[in-house]
């Protein structure tokens, strides 16, 4: 019993303390957080834009050209694996010398945007058409109706789905190692390739992701509760 505990201690030392290997984890965590944060912002922006165009087309029949463009974007991005998109961006699209972190942010941003677009659109389309008509009959134009009446209701309804997408996005960044970006997962890989121990690095990495996701989902829950206070 104590022997096994001493063994665990020795392995902990080898994997994290020796040669300052914990630095890989800390730096990797920083990279994962940065990529997730900026990709999330970019995805929100893209998703929002695409959803507005698509639902405007659905409701009014306008913006035909942009609607086709958005459809192509959704089809291509949702139809190919994100790891392939990441590799294409790094090895084909971006010129040499572009920082890998930028490539990763753009890749995950574009990818997440496609999924967020459909979430936003489902929220907009779920708001009763009567709300729209009410807005218009009060003298609001289309955009004003959208921003002041429809979107606030839509956002509240899609928060759980959006939160889900944020969680998926954060975990998906774990493939950044494919373009030699040292994110949290790759940090574990590097330690593993030095110490030949799979147990400690992988468990540590898993634990950190778990904590991140728990924090993220509690933030989303907090936001949901805030928004719901207007229901009464």
């Amino acid at each position: 019993m104590t022997e096994q505990f001493a063994d665990l201690q020795a392995r902990f030392y080898l994997n994290f303390i020796a040669e300052d290997r914990w630095r890989f984890i800390v730096n990797g965590l920083g990279v994962t957080l940065r990529v997730t944060f900026f990709a999330l912002i970019m995805g929100l922006f893209l998703g929002f834009l695409v959803a507005i165009i698509r639902s405007t087309h659905d409701k009014t029949g306008k913006l035909k050209f942009f609607n086709v463009l958005c459809n192509v974007y959704l089809t291509v991005i949702r139809g190919t694996p994100v790891v392939v998109q990441l590799l294409i961006l790094f090895f084909v699209v971006f010129p040499g010398g572009t920082s890998q972190i930028l490539v990763a942010i753009v890749a995950f941003g574009i990818n997440s945007g496609a999924y967020q677009a459909e979430i936003f659109r489902s929220g907009i389309m779920a708001v009763d058409n009567g709300q729209f008509e009410a807005g218009r009959s009060l003298g609001f134009n289309y955009l004003k109706t959208m921003f002041y009446i429809v979107l606030p209701q839509a956002v509240k309804n899609i928060l759980p789905a959006l939160g889900n997408e944020f969680i998926v996005l954060m975990k998906e960044t774990s493939i950044s190692g494919f373009i030699a970006l040292q994110d949290l997962t790759r940090a574990g890989d590097i330690i593993r390739s030095r110490t030949f121990d799979a147990f400690m690095p992988l468990l540590a990495v898993a634990l950190i992701y778990l904590v991140l996701v728990v924090i993220l989902s509690s933030l989303i829950k907090l936001l949901e509760r805030r928004l719901r206070s207007s229901d009464h």
Partner: protein, 248 residues
């Protein structure tokens, strides 16, 4: 409370080691772990893994009167795999290092490899390995090129790719300034990708050997077989077939 956590941890570990031992690979068939992305030592030809290491492994296993089964995995997974008993031995142009010797047993060395530096043809700043100081260097994760250059040139300058080929692609496309890799794969890569050259001076020399789980009975048998193959010329014949008689 602490005791409880320790208990749970130990239970998980015990379970993990049970699972690991469950799939023992010994018997009439020997399982060889390799990373088939390293021509001419091991690589895919169609759906078959071929190469110098594979032919040597076949010759040795034939001598022992057993069958050979090859399992392909990423290079950094090989040592954990043989430790977990998922393979009986590993042949992957693996260099003997002190760190690896604490984890696995090695056979006698069957080949001396060299670590060389690949740069772009129009790069006139890097002419000897000493010029790599402060440059961004592409390597394959877990290889000796990765570990030794991380010490020599600093972690922040090393870009670790999953496959050697990807490091070379990143070099061709300008994301890294140089790639450090074993010399023979380097030649294959430079022949396949235009605009690259290998520095005339090698970075360092190293011995390739076969890795076994610690305490494996196979080590002595393999060593005897290697000596025999070297003595009757089979060994040289395999090396010549894959690499040619010239050293370059």
């Amino acid at each position: 409370m602490k005791k409880k956590i320790a208990c749970i941890l130990v239970a998980i570990m015990a379970l993990a080691s049970l699972v690991a031992c469950g799939g023992s690979a010994s018997g009439e068939t020997l399982v060889m772990a390799t990373s088939a992305d390293f021509p001419p030592f091991q690589y895919y030809e169609g759906d078959q893994i071929v190469g110098l290491d594979v032919d040597i492994a076949k010759a040795i296993v034939d001598k022992l009167g057993m069958e050979l089964e090859i399992e392909d995995m990423s290079f950094d997974a090989i040592i954990p795999a043989i430790q977990a008993g998922r393979a009986d031995f590993a042949m992957a142009a693996m260099t003997v290092t002190e760190e690896r010797m604490t984890q696995v047993d090695f056979s006698v060395s069957y080949y001396t490899g060299r670590q060389v530096v690949i740069v772009s043809e129009d790069n006139s700043d890097i002419n000897t390995p000493d010029d790599l100081e402060g440059m961004s260097i592409g390597v394959q994760i877990g290889t000796t090129g990765d570990i030794l250059s991380s010490w020599e040139f600093g972690d922040e300058n090393i870009q670790r790719f999953t496959r050697g080929m990807e490091a070379v692609q990143a070099l061709a496309q300008g994301s890294v300034d140089a790639v450090i890799i074993d010399d023979y794969p380097a030649h294959e890569f430079v022949n396949a990708v235009s605009g690259l050259r290998i520095l005339p001076a090698e970075w360092l020399e190293e011995d390739y050997a076969i890795a076994f789980p610690q305490g494996s009975e196979l080590v002595d048998k393999f060593n005897a077989a290697i000596e025999e193959l070297k003595a009757n010329g089979t060994f040289q014949e395999i090396v010549d077939r894959h690499i040619g008689t010239g050293t370059d």
